[in-house]
């Protein structure tokens, strides 16, 4: 039998104004198990907590009921109080007589009556409480970062600098991601490569970081602190450790017309290639779909010219099994396809391009060596039209595009427009916008400079149609402020395509059991208070995989994710939530039903020997809950038909006791 103390809080007049607290503590004194009952002005105050500690000692209490505000407010406080008094913290139950009673009921009589009933329910529950101790699991002190863009790079560097080993898995032959493709960055206009490539070198030289480039995550098992990950290292047909990155092979390769993905197909590369000069790792990769040797066995030029002997046409994919304590997702974004927006003639004219293509077009390492030449005839364009929000902010019922704002387009378009006007003042630049969104440090100033200093023509309105005719692009648009329909003969049209999460994110989320929103962005554990954590313990989010972000935001989130990872990896052991499920093996049927509903894969089965009453030994399949993985939702307890599965802290018998107390 428990010895329960009841402590009724007045919360000043917050509770006492509508609930007769004396009547409540008097009524509850007569409940089974209750040996002490009192009330006090502020139970959560130090004086109030002292009353509890005193009572525990004087009356040898084994359980505590606090009738007060919501447990979401002070459950943790009173659990600490109990611990201070020498009790197990989980011997405390809260009756919520403020938010769910005194604040919502005006009438003293009914408020008091309800408060008593809620108190009785809490007493009934505590009568069945048992001390709970959180489980402990060890932590593998190594982190995995999936994605080697600026987000992944920053996260990895920060984790490594704190002294923990970290691996980056990047599906492309080099790290660097989208930022490596950019020309300048807003609002400072410093060159992307100048600030990114030193970081890439840092990654390569950091002893704590391993880069698995041209690799993909194939399978993830385990749980926070203890992930088992299978990584597929795709065959690049070049021995990474031997290749010096001299680039001779890429000059001699006879297959010259492979669309160069780094320049978004605007020029060509060879079948053996290094994506760009500052690639990390700087090693060549053979494209098996283009290489004559791999396709037909006829060529072998690269092997002949490679003095280091790095070419290996027989190389196979390699599967690595690695263990990690934490996983950071940094899978980034891509511009959406423009197929559904062909009113802008992207598929009809080479001179209608996306903003990312424009970045390559103005980049000194790009297909035109940084000269602004339009793709169709390599002539200098004199009239350029930028179209904002192509595929962003589309209602779902419009059946194309994305509902969200892509966030970065307003600023990079201002940057593009400004750079053009700066280098080529003879060029007319129009920007069609719905709204110009510039919340960020020095952002609006930047946009205003584009307008005021550089004379970029910002027009409130949208482009309705682009018609290529002759060597012009006839742009039909609205100018809502002038109330006009404009017809502009443009030489180049640049579309600010909406961005979307990388396609690899969805299967990865499934492997991680991490949740995603309807747009395939990873969901954060809490939108305000835990923005860099996934709800799945041990999984963290970095960069645009969580939502559209510019570089400074991405880097901040990357470092924040690193801080969270470091906070996890410094622990030797993890203490879990003790309110987890557990199976009574004597009753378990081993039927696998609970395993099917568990969202965390916390339940496994073992064959266990049982000594029967007749002294024989029988082997039965029984469920085992991993307390480090179980989050305590209780889905399994209802799915279990034999009643073997129960949830600590919310046992069936406890909930039924509450029901009975309320319905008595």
């Amino acid at each position: 039998m428990q010895r329960i103390g009841v402590f009724v809080c007045w919360c000043g007049s917050n509770i006492a104004g509508t609930v007769d607290v004396q009547a409540v503590s008097d009524a509850l004194r007569n409940e089974p198990g209750v040996v002490f009952s009192t009330n006090y002005q502020y139970m959560c105050s130090q004086a109030g907590q002292d009353i509890i500690i005193q009572a525990v000692k004087e009356h040898n209490l084994t359980g505590i009921v606090v009738c007060s505000c919501s447990p979401r407010m002070h459950e943790a406080t009173f659990r600490k109080t109990a611990a201070a008094a020498g009790l197990n913290p989980y011997m405390v139950e809260i009756a919520n007589i403020r938010e769910q009673c005194s604040w919502v009921h005006k009438d003293m009589a009914s408020g008091t009556e309800k408060a008593i009933i809620l108190g009785k329910a809490a007493v009934a529950k505590v009568n069945l409480n048992a001390p709970l101790t959180p489980g402990e699991t060890p932590v593998t002190k190594r982190a995995l970062v999936i994605g080697g863009g600026i987000a992944g790079i920053q996260t990895a560097l920060d984790i490594a600098d704190a002294g923990f080993p970290v691996d980056i898995v990047e599906k492309n032959p080099t790290i660097g991601g989208k930022m490596a493709q950019l020309d300048k960055t807003f609002p400072t206009l410093d060159c992307a490569a100048c600030i990114l490539t030193p970081k890439m070198v840092d990654v390569a030289q950091n002893d704590n970081i391993r880069i698995f480039s041209y690799s993909e995550v194939e399978d993830i098992k385990g749980f926070v602190g203890n992930f088992d990950v299978k990584i597929r290292k795709k065959a690049r047909f070049v021995k990474e450790d031997i290749c010096t990155g001299c680039g001779l092979c890429t000059e001699k390769c006879p297959v010259r017309k492979v669309p160069n993905e780094f320049n978004l197909g605007m020029d060509n590369r060879r079948a053996i290639y290094i994506p760009f000069a500052q690639a990390v790792p700087k090693v060549a990769t053979i494209d098996p779909d283009a290489c004559n040797m791999l396709k037909s066995g006829k060529c072998g030029v690269c092997s002949k010219v490679c003095t280091a002997g790095a070419i290996d046409y027989k190389q196979q994919d390699e599967i690595l099994d690695e263990k990690y304590g934490a996983i950071v997702v940094a899978t980034g974004f891509n511009p959406i396809s423009m197929d559904k927006f062909d009113e802008y003639a992207y598929n009809q004219s080479k001179d209608v391009i996306t903003s990312l293509e424009f970045e390559r077009l103005t980049n000194a390492a790009g297909p035109t060596q940084g000269k602004l030449l339009r793709p169709s005839d390599l002539k200098h364009p004199h009239t350029i039209v930028f179209v904002q929000c192509v595929g962003s902010r589309c209602a779902s019922c419009a059946e194309k595009g994305k509902e969200y704002c892509s966030k970065i387009c307003c600023m990079y378009t201002a940057k593009h427009a400004m750079l053009i006007r700066d280098k080529y003042p003879d060029t007319e630049v129009y920007v069609f916008y719905i709204d110009v969104r510039t919340p960020g440090k020095n952002f609006d100033e930047f946009y205003r400079r584009a307008v005021e200093e550089y004379g970029v023509k910002y027009i409130k309105g949208m482009v309705g149609k682009v018609v290529p005719e002759g060597d012009k692009l006839k742009v039909q648009a609205s100018d809502l402020i002038a109330g006009k329909q404009l017809h502009i003969d443009a030489d180049l049209v640049v579309l600010a395509a909406a961005i979307e999460p990388d396609k690899s994110a969805r299967p990865l989320a499934t492997m991680l059991t991490a949740s995603m929103d309807t747009n395939d962005f990873f969901t954060e554990a809490h939108p305000k208070l835990r923005p860099v954590e996934s709800p799945t313990a041990g999984v963290f989010l970095s960069g645009a995989c969580q939502g559209p972000k510019d570089i400074p935001e991405t880097v901040s989130q990357a470092s924040a994710a690193a801080a969270k990872v470091i906070g996890l990896l410094v622990k030797d052991k993890l203490t879990g939530n003790p309110c987890v499920a557990s199976a009574n093996e004597m009753m378990c049927n081993g039927c696998s039903t609970c395993e099917r509903v568990c969202p965390y894969g916390a339940i496994t089965y073992i064959d266990k020997e049982f000594r029967m009453p007749d002294r024989t030994v029988a082997t039965r399949r029984v469920a085992q809950v991993n307390p480090a993985v179980c989050q305590g939702c209780g889905a399994c307890t209802v799915a279990c038909m034999s009643g073997a599965m129960d949830l600590r802290g919310f046992m069936s018998s406890q909930i039924i006791a509450e029901v009975d107390a309320i319905c008595k």
Partner: protein
């Protein structure tokens, strides 16, 4: 008077099934409209004026009869507002009144030529008369 306008606007919204509040004022409908030059009020203005109940100028505007019903604004609207249906809703509110047909049988002979397909005549009648 203002109340009447609101009522008419609400009736148009109800009958056309178009929700003008979905509009984000991007102007793509007007940008895409092939009949822009012939219109006094343009598609985005139709949407805005019905939304705000500023309906009288619309009821009297010849823009009602210059919409080609090409539906380009409907398909290109990023918010799924369907401006063309709203234009039709306003037009219906006019021509369904007594004596407000925009075209009568007597008007037709003067507009005919020997090649004009029947389709044009029946379409115009559907659009311009109750």
């Amino acid at each position: 008077m203002h109340n009447d306008n609101r009522k008419i606007a609400d009736e148009i919204i109800l009958r056309s099934g178009v929700n003008p509040r979905k509009c984000m004022k991007c102007g793509k409908c007007t940008a895409t409209c092939p009949a822009f030059d012939r219109m006094e009020y343009h598609p985005h203005q139709f949407v805005y004026m019905v939304e705000t109940g500023d309906i009288e100028p619309l009821l009297e505007s010849k823009s009602l009869y210059t919409c080609l019903s090409c539906f380009a604004c409907v398909d290109r609207c990023p918010r799924g507002v369907e401006p063309a249906k709203l234009v039709e809703g306003v037009r219906n509110a006019v021509i369904r009144q007594q004596g407000k047909n925009h075209m009568t049988a007597d008007d037709v002979p003067g507009k005919l030529d020997s090649d004009l397909p029947q389709q044009a005549i029946v379409s115009a009648f559907r659009k311009y008369t109750k």
